[in-house]
Symmetry: C2
Subunit: 149 residues, 2 copies
Amino acid sequence: MQLTLYTDYSLRVLLYLGLLPERTATITEIAEAYGISRNHLVKVVHNLSIHDFIQTTRGRGGGICLARAPEEINIGDVVRHTEVNFDLVECFNRSQNTCPIAVACILKGALYEAQRAFMAVLDKSTLADVLENADWLRKTLRVEGELAS
Amino acid sequence: MQLTLYTDYSLRVLLYLGLLPERTATITEIAEAYGISRNHLVKVVHNLSIHDFIQTTRGRGGGICLARAPEEINIGDVVRHTEVNFDLVECFNRSQNTCPIAVACILKGALYEAQRAFMAVLDKSTLADVLENADWLRKTLRVEGELAS
């Protein structure tokens, strides 16, 4: 039971950008702050941009920033857009299912309910909620307030 | 967000055995009922046996059966024993974590809460609950009542 690294990194990017309400950031800066590969983040940032979680600006002084206020970025919503496969088990995908009992399986119903409960918790949180300890996060990630070079 | 095929098949094996309170079954029979590979089931059955969900009997007339009554087999408990990785994101595993903010990350807390909510739903269900439509399941899986050959 895991979320993809893609979702993990997407959330980290949004969290980092939430610490920078007054300037843009670069992918390199975020990669260095978390000690992760810049290459991994390129696709992550592109996807977040497509789904209007972040805005990108090209050229000198350009970079990335949140496209909405942290209060308007719901964590469950982000996970739905970054986690490519929500088929908890084979039978969640009608076109790929081979299990003969899927049509009336009570277990399948319990697994659906469990997944709904999982997402319901994430739907309660916004990016603003997870930024409540922003001062500590800025210090730990060594986020500088000045404009990104 | 997926459970492993291993967990999926483990649950299917238990469900099948729950339909046979009066006889043992063979791995071949279960594999054929679900249209899945027998080889996949061998390891699944071994693991279920180690964790005392099923009993195996060797020799002529031998086979596998539940080790406890369906009411005493909790679905959450099964998933905890079959799903090898409960590290939803990297930071859930202290020894492998590289994220610098893990120690006080509110997002991590939300993800833990979501996972707990997921498991809490499964903890409410027993194998007996998912066997409530046993007659339909027997018919659909073509389960025969006589002793396995």
